[in-house]
Symmetry: C2
C-alpha cells in the first residue's frame, strides 16, 4: 500500500498492515467471548491483562510507559527533547459482552502509527517539532464505574480526580481500590500544566458505531461534531407487597412505574423521528422476587440529539410525563444523577487536516457527526483534535457481532499515521 503522492510523509508498507492485523488478533484474544466479542470492563482482570499486553508492546519498542493517578496509561516517545507531545489513542476497556473493535482498535492504531513515526524519524535526517505519545484512557465505557469517559474527563479537568477515585461499582468497590488491585494507579500526573511535559494536540480513530459511512461507501469519516446527550439516573419508589394477595388498588408497584417510564422514553423518540435517540439500558429491581411487588427500581435513561433545542424540548416533555406516571402508578420518581453535554463541534482545522491527508492518500472521506461520546469529546475542549471514523458493518456496536473489515482497519491506521506525521511537522502551528 505504498503511496506515490509527493506530499505524503510516511509511506506504509504491506508488512505494516500485516503487523497491525496480527496485533489486533492478539489483543482481541484477551477477554474474548465465544461469539467474537470481548468482556473487559474497566479495572477487571481482563482490562489489566489488556493493559499489560500494551505495556509490553510499547516498552519493547522503546516507548516509556507511565500511568497517571486515574489509571490512564501512556507510552511516550521523545523525539525532540523537551518539546510538547502530540497524543493519540482511545480506550482498551469494553462493555460487558462488548465488541472487540470499540476503543481497542483506536489504541492499537495509535500505537502502530507512533511506531511507524519512530522508525521514520530514525531513518530520515529530519526532526519533528513535537514528541509523540500513545494513550489508553481509563474507563471510557462507564459500564462498571460511572460516568463514562472517566480517564479523559479527569485528564482534561472535566471531572475531579477525587470524585472519580471514590466512585463505586455495584459491589461497593471504588475506582481507587480497583486501580490499586491491578497496579494501575500512578503516583503523579504524566502531563499537566505544572509538569515538564505538555500536550499540544490529540488524535483518535474509532469505529463509526453507525451506518453513515457504510451507506455512503466511504472508508474515512471526518468527525466534525458531536450529538448532545442527557443521561439520567432515576429511582422509582413504591411499596413492597405480595403479588398475589395485595389488592391491585393498594399497590404502589415500582416496576410498573419504571415500565411506564421505559415506554414513555421510547415514545419520545417516536415523536421526534431521526433527530432523537432514547433508551433505558440499565434497570435494577428491588427486591426482585417473583412473588413480591417491587419497592424500588433504579434505572438509567439516555437521550441524545444533534440539536440542543430539541433535546431541551424532549427533556421538558419527559419531566411532564414522569409527573403523570407518578400519579398513574402511585409511585415517587427521583432523579438522582444527571450527566449532560451539549452538541459541540470539533476544530475545523482538524477536519481540514484529516481531509487533506485522505485526499493525498487517494482515499474518499466525508464529514460525520458522532452520536456517541468519545475521549476526543473531552480532549477537543483543551487542544486541537482530530477524530477519525472507519466503517462498522451494519453500524453494530456495544455487541459481540461488531465488525470492521481488515482493509478499513488498515486504511484508517494509514490516515491516522499521516495525520500525526503532519501534526508533528507543525500542521496545527
Amino acid at each position: 500500500m505504498s503511496n506515490t503522492h509527493g506530499r505524503v510523509v510516511v509511506d506504509v508498507e504491506q508488512a505494516d498492515d500485516i503487523a497491525l492485523l496480527a496485533d489486533f488478533a492478539a489483543l482481541s484474544a484477551i477477554g474474548a467471548t465465544p461469539a467474537g466479542g470481548v468482556e473487559r470492563q474497566a479495572a477487571t482482570p481482563e482490562d489489566g491483562q489488556t493493559r499489560a499486553w500494551l505495556q509490553a508492546w510499547l516498552a519493547g519498542r522503546g516507548f516509556t510507559v507511565a500511568q497517571d493517578r486515574v489509571g490512564n496509561l501512556f507510552g511516550l516517545l521523545e523525539l525532540v527533547p523537551g518539546a510538547p507531545y502530540v497524543l493519540a489513542g482511545s480506550h482498551l476497556d469494553s462493555q460487558p459482552r462488548g465488541g472487540r473493535f470499540d476503543g481497542a482498535y483506536g489504541v492499537l492504531a495509535a500505537a502502530h502509527a507512533a511506531e511507524r513515526l519512530r522508525r521514520h524519524y530514525a531513518a530520515v535526517h529530519d526532526r519533528p517539532r513535537y514528541n509523540i505519545a500513545v494513550v489508553d484512557w481509563f474507563n471510557e465505557e462507564g459500564s462498571r464505574f460511572k460516568p463514562s469517559m472517566m480517564g479523559s474527563g479527569v485528564f482534561t479537568g472535566a471531572l475531579p480526580l477525587e470524585q472519580a477515585l471514590a466512585t463505586t461499582d455495584v459491589g461497593g468497590v471504588t475506582v481507587g481500590e480497583a486501580l490499586d488491585a491491578m497496579g494501575a494507579r500512578g503516583e503523579a500526573d504524566v502531563f499537566g500544566e505544572n509538569a515538564r511535559r505538555a500536550v499540544a494536540a490529540y488524535a483518535e480513530i474509532h469505529i463509526e458505531q453507525g451506518r453513515e459511512l457504510e451507506k455512503a461507501g466511504i472508508g474515512i469519516g471526518l468527525v466534525d461534531s458531536t450529538w448532545a446527550a442527557n443521561k439520567y439516573e432515576l429511582s422509582v419508589l413504591g411499596s413492597q407487597a405480595h403479588t398475589g394477595a395485595t389488592a391491585m388498588a393498594d399497590r404502589r408497584d415500582a416496576l410498573y412505574g419504571a415500565a411506564l417510564v421505559v415506554v414513555a422514553v421510547r415514545e419520545l423518540a417516536d415523536r421526534f423521528g431521526l433527530d432523537l435517540h432514547t433508551s433505558c439500558g440499565q434497570l435494577t429491581v428491588y427486591p426482585n422476587s417473583p412473588v413480591v411487588v417491587a419497592r424500588e427500581v433504579h434505572m438509567h435513561l439516555d437521550l441524545r440529539s444533534p440539536s440542543d433545542e430539541l433535546l431541551a424540548e424532549a427533556d421538558e416533555l419527559l419531566r411532564v410525563r414522569l409527573a403523570e406516571i407518578e400519579v398513574q402508578a402511585d409511585v415517587t420518581i427521583n432523579r438522582t444523577y444527571a450527566h449532560t453535554w451539549r452538541g459541540q463541534v470539533y476544530q475545523p482545522e482538524g477536519v481540514e487536516l484529516a481531509r487533506s491527508v485522505a485526499t493525498d492518500l487517494g482515499l474518499a472521506s466525508v464529514e460525520v457527526r458522532t452520536r456517541a461520546g468519545h475521549d476526543s469529546t473531552n480532549m477537543k475542549d483543551r487542544v486541537p483534535t482530530v477524530m477519525l471514523f472507519v466503517p462498522s458493518v451494519d453500524g453494530i456496536s456495544h455487541a459481540e457481532s461488531e465488525f470492521t473489515h481488515d482493509e478499513d482497519l488498515c486504511r484508517g491506521t494509514q490516515v491516522l499515521t499521516e495525520t500525526l506525521a503532519r501534526i508533528l511537522q507543525g500542521a496545527f502551528d
Copy 2:
C-alpha cells in the same frame, strides 16, 4: 384468657400468651432487618439459624426432631404409640426483606399449640386418638429456589424430590447443596406410605395477606378456598446495541419489549377489576449497562383469580398481546416456565370444625378465600386440612412493615390449639 365454655378441651392461661409473644420476639430477632422485617431466604445462614432455634425449642420440650430428604423439619410428639400423626405448621423462610409474621407465626403457633396439648395430656388421665407433630416446611417462599411451596410439594408428591433437589439459585447452587451446607438434608422420609408413621390431618395458621378480616373487624378467618394462579417465566430476546449511536429503527430492545409486557399485564388487571390480580415482581436485564440496548430480559409474571374461567380468558388475552409486542418492539418472547394451579376448595368439614371452635371460644369468625398459595394448599389434597387466618394491618405482606397485633396472634393460637385438640380427639373420624 381462661375459657368457661364447657366443650373446650384446652384452657389457655395468660402465661401461655406471654410465652408465645416472648418466643415470637426471639424468633423475629434472627435475620432481623432495620425496618422491622426479616431476611431469611430458604437455606441461607439465617434460615439455618431459625431452624436451629426451633430444633432447640422442640428438643427442650421432649419433641423428637427429624428432617426429611427435602429439608422439611419436624418435631414429633408420640402420645399414643403407633397412632397416626396430626401435623401442624407453616414455614420459617422469608422473602428478601420480608415480614416477620409470614410463615414464622404459623410455625410458632403450631409449636405452642402442640406444647399446650403435651402438657394437657400429661395432666389429664385421657389419651387422644392421634399423635401430634410440628412442621417447618422447607422453602415455601420460592424467592431463592423456585417453585414456591417446595417442601410441602415434595411431601405430598406434587413435586418430584429429584427435581426439587436439582433446582438452582441464580448463583448455580442446587437445593441439595444448600441443604447439605446447613445440615438440613435428612436421609429418609419422616412420614410416608411405607413408613411406620402416617399423617391423618393437617392444620395451619397464617396472617391474612389481605384486608378482608381487618375491614370486617373479625379476628379469625376460616379459609374455604384458594384463588387460581398462573405463573410464567418469560425470556424477551432482542439484540445488544449502543444506546446512543444505534438508529432507533435498527433497535431490537429487549427491555422496551419487557416494559410493554409489564404494562400489558397491569392493563389486564384494570380490565377485569377485582377478580384478577396481576404482577411482574422479578425482571432481570442483560447486560444491564447504562449505554447498552438490552439483548435479553428475563421476567416472572403472576396472574391470580378466584375464577378459573376468568384466568383462562386473561391467559388468552395475554397470549395475543405478547404476539403484538413481539412485532411492536421487534423482539422474540419465549415462555420458559409455567406453574399453575386451579382454584380449589378446602374440605368443608375443616371449615365447620374451626367455626365451631371459634364459636365455643366466644370469637367471631368468617370464611375467607386465600389469594396466596400456602403449604396447606398442597396438604389439603392429601388429608383433611384446616387453614386459619388472623388479621394483618393494612393487608401488608412480603414487606418489612407487615404487622399483626399481639391479641390477634394470641387468639389465633388459641383457636389452633383447640382445633388440634378436637382433631386429636377424633373430630375428623
